[in-house]
């Protein structure tokens, strides 16, 4: 069993019936982080879209990126809204901006003490969190503080 930040039982991610996000979720299983890059104008894009929001090109690549970013915002939910979180206590969510990739943002949990002080602008590093028990198995992308 792999160790996970939040308890088991939360909804598992799915690429959905249209499969738009399938390359992302497939890559995370190989501990790779990919986002979209337009083949027409070169714009980075996240989250996934079928079209480039800048030039409307529909040929969009999935490019592996380095999981380094800065905390753009955060929250520490206390109130459990899902049965899997009942009795679990507070946890941390961070919104991370990736300056090297057009300032796209990604969202995940901040690993470590859920009561740690969070400073906007702190450097963070992506961490892959496999959920091999999932049906099918999946891997989440989490974040930890990166010493600079």
């Amino acid at each position: 069993m792999s160790e996970t930040y939040l308890p088991k039982g939360l909804p598992r991610p799915s690429a959905g019936p249209d499969g738009l996000a399938e390359p992302y979720w497939r890559a995370t299983r190989e501990s790779k982080l990919v986002i979209q890059k337009c083949t027409g104008c070169g714009a980075w894009q996240w989250g996934p879209e079928w079209v480039c929001h800048q030039c409307h090109c529909m040929e969009i690549d999935w490019i592996e990126i380095e999981g380094k970013g800065l905390i753009y915002s955060y929250e520490r939910p206390h109130h459990p809204v899902h049965h899997a979180l009942t009795g679990h206590g507070a946890y941390l969510v961070v919104l991370v901006e990736l300056p090297a990739y057009g300032n796209v943002r990604m969202l995940g949990n901040l690993l470590g003490d859920p009561h740690q002080e969070v400073v906007i602008g702190s450097a963070v590093q992506a961490v892959f969190e496999p959920h091999d028990e999932g049906d099918p198995a999946y891997t989440l992308v989490q974040w930890r503080i990166r010493s600079t």
């Binding site: 996240w46 929001h53 929250e75 206390h78 899902h82 979180l85 969202l107």
Partner: protein
């Protein structure tokens, strides 16, 4: 060339609402609540429900226009319309749609309504418990970002960080709403007193900035209002409340997935508000009545800023309880208690209160009562706003 505007062409002539209940406590079904609110609005206006020829709603309303028109025996339904988006982002937009239908001759008497019975249906602030999350939810639900509060809190936190605004500003918004509810017999929170100590001691929903009293209630009830042409309104029993401007929409890419909207720390009104004031030919300082949808107090703060009613640098100073309460505050806010303390009627109760204020019959009556601004559903997409006015603003 004809000026393309809604300004002053239509008016609200009747408002109606049911008893407001705590969530799950309505003895009536959602559809029956809707019928009661529509009939009550007609009684207020002094017209028969048979005169209604249009319905407009929002927020994924379940009581359908065709069914309501049939139940009420309406002879000819000429307009039915739903505003996209969940929550209360469409409250003012639905009124704008009704006004547009009347102003362009598509219908003569359009009812705008909302009905909610959360005992009969699912609540908003609780996950339905699905085992799979797809689309944008796939990037949020597995991380415990599920409820509206959890999806919006990081916008507020970034806004507070950018402008150095403290939680005292949010507390003042909450205190003002609860204060106003105490005189309102239909307020669910009448008798539920809130002071600074009780607010400060209340539990975190999301830390920081989302305490229990920063979050709206969930309720059962229904509300409805009637829109007719300005000419017709002048012949009816109440002082007409003119629709001076309606605007809806959202900022650039505000529904970009995984929180990638360019203007992140925003209620999504920044591009809309200037259009609203231009149509009304009025300014923020003209608004004696300020009604803002509180899903969360942080959303109110950003809405007030984006509508030019508060400068971010002055928010800590201006947003104190004394300034926000009727009759003598500099900017009385949500004078019947709003979503926080009157009823979470998806913001329609905020419009009803603005109508009562302009008529001069509100329980917490303000003195500058010729122009009202109502802001719907901060942070959702799309959002909408409305300016109402008395004859003097025409």
């Amino acid at each position: 060339m004809i000026d393309r505007t809604l300004r002053g062409q239509t008016a609200i002539i009747g408002i109606g609402e049911t008893v407001y209940y705590k969530h799950g406590q309505s003895p009536d079904s959602e559809f029956k609540l809707a019928l009661k609110a529509v009939i009550s609005a007609c009684q207020d206006a002094g017209i028969s429900p048979h005169e209604i020829d249009g319905f407009a709603s929002y927020g994924n309303e379940r009581s359908e226009a065709g069914r309501l028109a049939s139940a009420l025996g309406i002879k000819e339904l000429r307009f039915s319309n739903m505003f996209w988006g969940g929550g209360g982002g469409g409250v003012c937009g639905a009124i704008g749609n009704a006004a547009a239908a009347v102003a362009t001759g598509q219908a003569d008497c359009v009812v705008v309504f909302r009905s909610l019975a959360q005992g009969q249906y699912q609540r908003y602030g609780r996950s339905a418990g699905a085992s799979v999350a797809a689309g944008d939810d796939a990037f949020m639900f597995p991380y415990g970002v599920i409820s509206p509060a959890q999806r919006f809190a990081m916008k507020v936190i970034r806004f507070m960080h950018d402008h150095g605004i403290t939680e005292h500003a949010l507390r003042a918004i909450s205190l003002a709403c609860y204060h106003h509810a105490q005189n309102n017999p239909n307020a669910v929170m009448q008798g539920h007193l809130l002071d600074e100590g009780k607010y400060d001691q209340s539990r975190w929903i999301i830390e920081p900035f989302f305490r229990l009293y920063d979050c709206c209630q969930e309720n059962d009830g229904a509300a409805a209002l009637l829109v007719v042409s300005a000419d017709r309104a002048r012949d009816l029993r109440h002082k007409p409340v003119y629709i001076m401007a309606a605007a809806q929409g959202c900022d650039e890419r505000s529904a970009a997935p995984v929180h990638n909207m360019p203007h992140y720390a925003s209620s999504h009104f920044a591009q809309l508000a200037p259009r609203l004031y231009r149509m009304a030919k009025l300014l923020p300082e003209d608004m004696g009545i300020v009604q803002c949808y509180e899903n969360f107090t942080g959303g109110v703060l950003m809405s007030l800023v984006e509508h030019g009613l508060v400068k971010p640098a002055e928010a800590n100073e201006v947003l104190v309880k004394e300034n926000l309460i009727a009759p003598n505050g500099t900017m009385p806010l949500n004078t019947s208690g709003g979503n926080l303390a009157e009823c979470y009627m998806h913001g329609l109760e905020l419009v009803h209160e603005a109508v009562r204020q302009i008529r001069g019959v509100a329980i917490n009556q303000v003195t500058r009562n010729d122009a009202a601004i109502i802001m719907g559903g901060p942070m959702v997409t799309p959002v909408s706003s409305l300016i109402l006015g008395s004859e003097l603003t025409l």
